[in-house]
């Protein structure tokens, strides 16, 4: 599904957040050899949904094992969400760089970003399914475009309590096609 959240600011300008779901099978094409594909492979091998402690350790190893300067690490961002609370406003988001400094989603600004993030995280938690998307957000006049993978992980009882997020910039190849959701079989290179 192609989803757009829009809010109008008091000055008449608008912020927007648009996501396009990408078929997870296409990760083998768009992220071949990359960290997102590695993470997804680890996640599927361990679950799904994978046990949180096992997946967290395996993901750290997979990233650390990559050589410094690996192109796949360029622009890569990771975050973890503690989705144990029932109320998505109370989920806590942390980054590996500052693991002790998590923030509740209710403190994320602007509200547009908070609502979009809460909707996806809550859906990911309840469905227990991975989520692979292309996102274009325009906030305060600045546009950012990236690919995001959300991977839910579970506690010992099998209940999803964490979500691991990985984002990377959109590549040039991706900007040249609107057929992303179909993966290799439908890309321009294979469509001749």
């Amino acid at each position: 599904m192609d989803s757009t959240f829009v809010t109008t600011n008091p000055d008449g300008s608008a912020d927007s957040w648009r996501s396009t779901d990408i078929d997870l099978g296409a990760i083998w094409y768009w992220d071949r050899g990359g960290v997102l594909q590695d993470a997804y492979t680890l996640w599927t091998r361990q679950g799904p949904p994978a046990r949180d402690e096992n997946f967290r350790a395996a993901l750290n190893r997979a990233i650390v094992q990559r050589p410094a300067g690996d192109a796949a690490l360029t622009g890569l961002s990771l975050f973890q969400v503690d989705a144990t609370p029932d109320n998505p406003f109370d989920y806590r988001l942390a980054t590996p760089a500052q693991p002790g400094q998590s923030m509740k989603l209710r403190s994320i600004e602007p509200p547009l970003l908070r609502t979009a993030l809460m909707a996806d995280l809550n859906f990911c938690k309840n469905a227990g399914r991975a989520n692979y998307q292309r996102i274009t957000q325009t906030i305060g006049g600045e546009t950012d475009e990236y690919i995001r993978l959300l991977l839910p992980t579970a506690n010992r009882d099998g209940a999803v309590n964490h979500i691991h997020g990985l984002t990377r910039p959109v590549t040039a190849a991706m900007t040249q096609t609107n057929e992303m959701s179909h993966g290799p079989g439908r890309t321009p290179a294979n469509n001749v």
């Binding site: 757009t4 959240f5 998505p88 809550n122 309840n126």
Partner: protein, 158 residues
């Protein structure tokens, strides 16, 4: 491809849309009447759930929005979804987004207005939605359809 555009609009924008809908008739839209009733019932605190028809209620007492319930709901995608959890709604992505918007309305305690434009399973819906907070974690909601197009019936069906 399915599409779901959700535009949060200000209350002033919402009222402008409603005024335009009945321009020159001297009448109010269903949503204007709903707002007026809610506004009359609100003195210093949110009105009680028993002051309104079940048709317009969202039971949003749960912490998880997937557990919200619409006591009396008939929709286009799921014909009857009364008293069932939002998380079990067949159009899962739409339900997840609705749930978070209802939750945000509950937390803010203020009227919340959205313009929605969707194409889901061939059904095109464009509508305005008003959500108003009630006491004890309930919400009052109403929609006004601006455009509705359903796919033509398959050949052979009358």
């Amino acid at each position: 491809m399915d599409q779901d555009e959700r535009r949060q609009i200000t209350f002033d924008q919402f009222m402008r849309l409603e005024r335009l809908a009945k321009w020159g008739t001297g009448r109010q839209t269903k949503l204007q009447r709903l707002y007026a009733r809610w506004s009359d019932a609100r003195s210093h605190r949110a009105p009680g759930v028993d002051q309104f028809s079940r048709d317009w209620i969202v039971d949003a007492r749960a912490d998880n929005p997937q557990s919200f319930v619409l006591p009396n709901h008939t929709g286009y995608y799921a014909k009857s979804w009364s008293s069932r959890y939002l998380g079990d709604f067949p159009v899962t992505a739409h339900a997840a987004r609705c749930g978070v918007e209802y939750l945000a309305a509950r937390e803010s305690g203020e009227p919340t207005c959205h313009y929605l434009n969707q194409r889901i399973d061939g059904i095109i819906r464009e509508y305005v939605r008003l959500v108003l907070p009630l006491a004890d974690g309930h919400l009052l909601y109403g929609t006004r359809i601006l455009r509705l197009r359903t796919p033509p019936a398959p050949a052979g069906f009358a």
